[in-house]
Subunit: 250 residues, 8 copies
């Protein structure tokens, strides 16, 4: 319940328009729909400005479909489903009136229209290598779903620094940059040194050996000597896209 | 060298105003002053919009003083020195015309005036406990040095959730929140769920045992189930303050 | 052998009712049945008040069935089998007179009746997300098997703190709470701060990246700033249910 | 604010005894005293049944003294200060009317009287070795402060199993056991197999080499093959004593 | 080349019975047969008293068969093949005159006769649980292959200490004990405290969660507070059997 | 752009042969071909003396084929593809005019001719065991592709030191040695102590248990007490072969 | 109580020579003296053949002295005190009739006579470098205290393999070898390949950087490709000396 | 003993010029001087081309002085002492005819003359920051001691990429580059991508928090996406200088 609603309700209690037990109930009540296996927060867009998404990993196709339908029935226009398996996409296609657009590279499913870009500037999504593209597309598509223009700079890793420097214009004019890299993760530091906007670093699990599942890139990015760099979880393209959108809409 | 300067110099070459070897030199030259032990980037404010700071750890009092003087002589108005030891502050006080304001809690020294706050909104700095205040003050003072209004919410850890919920107004109206916590680092997730602006999470090394020098809070924050949370290095109050200022000035 | 039995046996030796070598034997003998691959402790219920369970992981369907039959033939009324594969359940169904009730979500098989709830209060089982439900059901079913009333609060993670606060009544009136969460595992701290009973925290391996197989939630819970929280192994729903039952029966 | 207080306040609003803005204020207000560097939760005893303690590590002697005085002035009878340095104890002795009893082994300071033991049974505190006694005394004194009878069994590590078996009586008759051990931490499993009550395991940082600051004992205890064992943070004697008291008072 | 052979060869050079280049050659030559992918050390039995075994993991069925045939043709009577896949055993059966005895539990193949036990005493192989039996059989069969009497004590983990104490006789009369356990690995410490002979501890990867692939048992055993315990690699039953045989034959 | 090209271009600008915007473009332009998913650096041979290779892991057969074709069309004579799957090799064979030589052991595909050896000396590739041969062949074939003579010494691990000492001649006469070992990785130290040339150590993931995916060999090699040893990533045979070739061509 | 004593006591009960409650008492009684902070196991020599030692770390000078005096008064002839600080040695010297021989390198104190060597062969103690000597002397002196002849081979690390090979005679004729090394810990594998007796490997914390406090040597030794090598904790010279003595006395 | 010496000695045996036992002795003898605590390898320069150095850490001032004197008396002209404390330098100055040049930044002491540079090219030593200079000087001085010209590029970290690009000439013309960096260690990758010579990467322990004592830079460098980069231990400036010299003298 928002501040204004609270104040109004208290006025209603004072005026006798609202009895005490109803007020009790409302004060306890959260705008949450309980599906048993999940509690959907329908007021999140109100409270946080961005509608809830469905994190598909660890959920059955049935659960994903039910949650999406509940969201739809509450009026959510664009439903973003991340980490969605091909099976889940096929299940929803076959068993629901909701028809998701499914992207095999990013494992993202989208129900409804992607809104017009209304962010204030451009979000650059850069990757160190070709293998990071799956995470990059999760970030880029998330940002697009939330109404942002996205510029993709893929395979601009620091071992060939000229590939990156060739794109200094895009970097200098971005409002937020998402730097995605596995292996040694140095991309974030170099971009952080070139850019004048916040850089969201996404370590990826791309690599082998002493990469330890993305740990090397993660530590590298956390220890970045460039100011302006903050980090999200390994492979968390969604999180980076979400934050970038927040920044681009302020 | 900026784009415009590059274009002008090329015109000068075309016009014969600038000879080829001078152009060669300028194209190689970086706007960097070399003190031997350090290379100071005087164009950083131009390029990135925020002047360079001095990271005091691992530098001798003499080195810090020389770097500060070089910055001063290039016209930098406010010089922020982080991780400054009391010895270094005393040395500069005694041996230089620069007289730093030194804060024992945050280990921050400031030479020159703190500018008027010109950020667009408020930055909230929240901590889980009393022991996190040293890191919090590094963040808060950094933000203030870069021209931001800061609201401090200290000791609002999640084990007493009501202490945090009592400040929902400040949280809801912030433009960026810095959530600082050691131990289990849960503060970032709870704030992330309440706020509608980016949350910069700072894990601290506060704790003992299975805290492993801040690792528990770091992992906790990276795995936050709240969207909108990104993370900087353990105890990196400066980094958080810097990013928050970037966001608050866009 | 219990204290009383020991005293009686010594009396029998003194009276000549029991010869020395028999006494020797009894003093060495443990109330353990040896199946070769396993030694079953039939006196455990006597000694510890709660009958032995079968931990199904790493045992063949044949071994599980033989152990269950040995327990049955010693009079155990309810036999709980955890981490039971569907194959093992099918094998026992087909090859034994024992017909287990098998639950696909928790991988628990139960032979015999679930006893009437005789615990003194209520055990709350709460999870941070939908993906933690498998572990939660292992905890809940274990507690029910040992005679406890269980209240389930699923998907009440801290990123939407209102979902949890809406259930403060159940939390305040529980006799023991099992808090189950993956990712950052902050649920335990928040519940620990709200409740006035012991909280058993179960980290789960739900998550990805810097979650490192449940390590982030584990460390988070061990470092909880809330008093009253103790922790069991990652995904150890059984252990939590067992301890909660102990506490609820004192 | 408790449920009953909430209901009464709403009645007062309805009756006009309480105006709206006052109600607004109370609904936001938490029963928390703000000392700037710390927020003291004076209603914790009401809410959780056990008064707040002062965790001394990372706080200055002045801060500890001020918090203790604030608690005293709100009527708290026994104030427990853990991880208190000798300096802090001497400071409080010299600068406050509060005169703490200070114990050099456990680093615990107590202001006020230790209450009569009113727990339902006995809490056993057992250690693997002599070096674990500091942690053990933190646990034992905490339990005594909260009104429990404590039996100490020190230096009963599993490498001399007969030393432990000689105390089976105490183990069998306890209502809760705290098993404290460094090195390999096996004590918890052996006691867990002998006892019929909850065992709280406390790994200690006692040891060297591959002990890694208590990690070996911590992992050992988390992986205990005995049911009924839960674990707290390395060296967290206070936490164990607190939980044991909770269990002993139900 | 042995000391005596060296002395004799030098005498032959002095006597002119051996020319210089032949001596050069012999001094360089190692008693090693080179199969390209492997170099077999046929003098190992001479040098170390125990013939070389074939470690099957990471070798193709063809490679294993060729190495075994080379050993056979050099007169090795018993050929022990560890970590042998069922495929490799079937391949050798089908494609070679060597017919291995293959054991599915321990993944051990044996070509030739198991020799008479000629060790001086008994080797006890004890396990904490049923799931450790695979490693235990690797240890036991290795010891038997090298001529030792083996007593097996399976499923005597410390959570039911009476199961272990019932076998104190075998433990007290052993010449070497192999203690095998996963999870918390406490078995080694308890046996180490009971026995008066060397204990070889084998951590196993049995367990889940904070077991981290055997790390918990490994650290536990390395930190054993019992003297007389040394440790081999996780799941290294062969190594333990080999060392135990060395000790039993001195 | 090379130094000479830059100077020439500036002369052309001065002479009016090149207009300013064209110069602008060239100064920004990198000699990089953009395939969308990858940016190929065709000037690498010019800049670094060794042509770019294709790292096959994480690329689709289509992507590998397209990159190889782009390289071919730019005149690259030998194209080395590492970590190439059998599927990718078959795909290229079937769908392209490029017909790679594919080696199943090293997972290396080669398009074009292997050049004549033109390095100054010999590169020795040594392994500790038979299971390291896959990595060794990646190193050896890489070195051969870049024009080096390679001597292979396989299965000369330190547990049979005489096998290694028998090859002291090859070791003493090499210009660079690649020491490849899993398990304890001691081979690098022993060779480092015998050789008078740089030793590139390659830890492998061969092993089990406390090997932790190659970590034990990696740490061992990094801590080598022999001077002259440097280390590449676990299983990185390509990297070692590349560096050895650099050294052998100076 | 030993088997024979048990049988006799039961006969006495049967004969009425011993009453039941006395028998009860004896059956419960352990041969353990309780000093409050420590429980001394005076029957250890009987049960395990080797008298108990005092591990000095974490004990006060007073505690060490009291334990030593208790041992002395029970007739123990040689009392070994490991990890003894200079302070503790000086305290005992000044405050007790016991006058320890104290060695500053190994931090070992010995009260009483070192017995005649009565082991069956020789124990070799070898170190990789000069810095490992402190741990080596702990091992060597422990072995001497338990009646063993010790041969010291210090600074024979594998980076100069000839230094080690020069001592093959001592290695070949030992009955047990203790191999002590920090850094990469390869010494154990090379000695393991040369020797025909058990090798006890002791990793040391000597080194820096990626040594991680001895972890590199520890993992290296656990992964030794040489059979016959088992490992004790980092820096655990005492444990190695103890086991070597066990082996040398069988 | 070298090959030629061996052949000659055998001829002497054949001619009767050398008796058998003398030959025996020589064949066993290593060119190693035994100081008890250390074994000095005087033939190392012969065998490996570079004289032995003294690693000062963990050695007493007396030991360092004795080793240096033994080297001097065997004719070694330049004696390099790394990790030398100021105390050790002062001790040698006061107590020996050897007068070391001591450098406080690199902790290097040099006895004798630094030789003329006779390497074939230039070695570049580059650091990411000012705090890495101590390690850099260890590398640079080591290289100079072994006869190399060194170019120092300090504080050219990747967060200000222009500082590095300004020195592309030195990088392109080097024969070997030592890239030294703490924090995220990205310098090695960027230099590796620019240079056409081997790059030796040295991670430093400079940093804090998730740097974990240099682990972040170490992993980053091991995972470098640039070919041509190999890595030595954290802070191992000496090792890097030694290898660079090897490469520069081939």
């Amino acid at each position: 319940m928002e501040q204004n609603e609270l104040r109004q309700m208290l006025r209603d209690v004072a005026d006798g328009k609202c009895d005490i037990e109803s007020a009790m109930l409302k004060l306890k009540e959260a705008p949450v729909e309980d599906l048993g296996f999940a509690k959907i927060d329908h007021h999140r867009a109100l409270r946080q400005g961005m509608a809830e998404v469905i994190y598909g990993a660890g959920k059955t196709p049935e659960q994903i479909t039910k949650i999406a339908e509940a969201m739809k029935s509450h009026g959510q226009k664009t439903i973003l489903i991340t980490r969605m398996s091909e099976e889940a996409a096929a299940f929803m296609e076959a068993n629901s009136t909701l028809k998701p657009e499914y992207d095999r590279i990013s494992h993202i499913g989208i129900v409804g229209e992607i809104p017009q870009a209304n962010g204030k500037g451009t979000i650059v999504v850069a990757t160190g290598g070709t293998s990071d593209v799956s995470v990059a597309e999760e970030a880029a598509k998330t940002a697009e779903c939330y109404g942002n223009r996205v510029v993709r700079l893929y395979d601009v890793g620091v071992a060939g620094i000229h590939r990156l420097l060739a794109h200094q214009d895009e970097i200098m004019s971005a409002r937020c940059i998402i730097a995605i890299a596995g292996m040694e993760g140095a991309l974030a530091s170099v971009i952080g040194g070139l850019a004048d906007c916040p850089v969201i670093a996404v370590p990826t699990s791309v690599g082998y050996g002493a990469n330890f599942g993305g740990l090397s890139a993660l530590l590298s990015m956390l220890n970045s000597c460039a100011s302006g760099v903050s980090v999200v979880n390994i492979d968390n393209g969604f999180g980076a896209g979400y934050i970038a959108s927040m920044i681009n809409h302020q």
